[in-house]
């Protein structure tokens, strides 16, 4: 005989409550206080922990890039260049190392970093000379510079 209407069914009771609770508590074992033992306190904190870890995965990329930039700045200052000059000139010489690699090279390969700094410095000086021009007066009448001696 098939019982079709819902209220006539037997009420079902949970038999694996222990394991469902353990699934949540296993993520809370390293917490401090009662929230590593009591389910009610634990679920709140475990949910917050998961949300914070998802946000942190995005922030980690920002933090690491800032860390690399600080390290490259420190290393380039040892060679007499600022970070902005170093990176912009390196980019103009078509060397496409990213900041993570330059920071690693600065830590583990100091001679290579020194040669990169020298390359950037030379490109910077060539840029200055190219910007200054020949040193002659510009053509045209209104753009002539008057010398008062």
């Amino acid at each position: 005989m098939v019982l079709l209407s819902a209220p006539l069914w037997l009420r079902s009771r949970l038999s694996d409550r222990f394991w469902r609770v353990q699934e949540v508590l296993k993520y809370a074992r390293h917490f401090r206080g009662r929230k590593n033992r009591c389910y009610k306190l634990a679920i709140r904190n475990v949910q917050r922990a998961f949300v914070k870890s998802t946000q942190a995965r995005k922030q980690k990329k920002r933090f690491l890039r800032a860390l690399w930039i600080t390290r490259i700045e420190a290393a380039s200052l040892e060679h007499g260049l600022k970070y902005s000059a170093f990176v912009s000139n390196l980019f103009k010489t078509q060397v496409e190392l990213n900041r993570k690699m330059i920071a690693d090279l600065a830590i583990y390969e100091p001679k290579t970093f020194k040669s990169l700094a020298a390359l950037a410095q030379r490109r910077r000086q060539e840029g200055f000379l190219a910007a200054l021009g020949d040193g002659k007066e510009p053509e045209g009448i209104f753009s002539r510079i008057v010398h008062h001696y």
Binding site: T54, L97, M101, S115, F128, L129, Y149
Partner: protein, 155 residues
């Protein structure tokens, strides 16, 4: 005429070395490095390789992990072609941006293809009864760098 504060520009004067002498110096250095490579006077080589949209600094007998799938079976030998930088103790070859294929050869073998640990993505809004939980496992590939070789064909 007396020198005032405005006779010379405030920036330091920059002088480049003589181009003819520089060219000679460059040719000497290139020849020396070529000789060193030909005779094999370098110790351990390191290279900076652009692989799977990331840059890795590798030496021989190195393990590398990439966070995606590679269309190669386990045990296949792979040659990595986008080499940005190669260096040894005494010299470095910097590519602009890449080094030539006939200059460097980086060989690697695929060791294992696994799946990462279970990362949990959770979105939660308080007092709104809104929570979504997603478990993400990325496929990963582990490669071992067998060797890095350079050939003396600088110019």
């Amino acid at each position: 005429v007396a020198k005032t504060s405005l006779t010379s520009p405030p920036w330091p004067e920059v002088k480049l070395p003589d181009p003819v002498e520089e060219a000679k110096h460059h040719a000497e250095v290139v020849q020396k490095v070529n000789e060193m490579i030909a005779t094999g006077q370098y110790g351990r080589l390191f290279a900076v390789v652009h692989f799977a949209s990331k840059q890795y600094k590798i030496t021989s007998e190195d393990l590398i992990m990439m966070d995606n799938v590679l269309q190669a079976e386990c045990g296949d030998r792979i040659r990595m072609e986008k080499v940005l930088l190669v260096g040894a103790d005494d010299f470095t070859l910097i590519g602009r941006p890449l080094l030539g294929r006939d200059l460097v050869r980086v060989e690697a073998t695929v060791i294992e293809k696994t799946v990462s640990w279970e990362k949990i993505n959770m979105r939660f809004r308080k007092k709104r009864n809104y929570q979504r939980k997603k478990i993400i496992t990325n496929p990963q590939t582990v490669l071992r760098i067998n060797s890095i070789e350079i050939f003396p064909c600088l110019s």
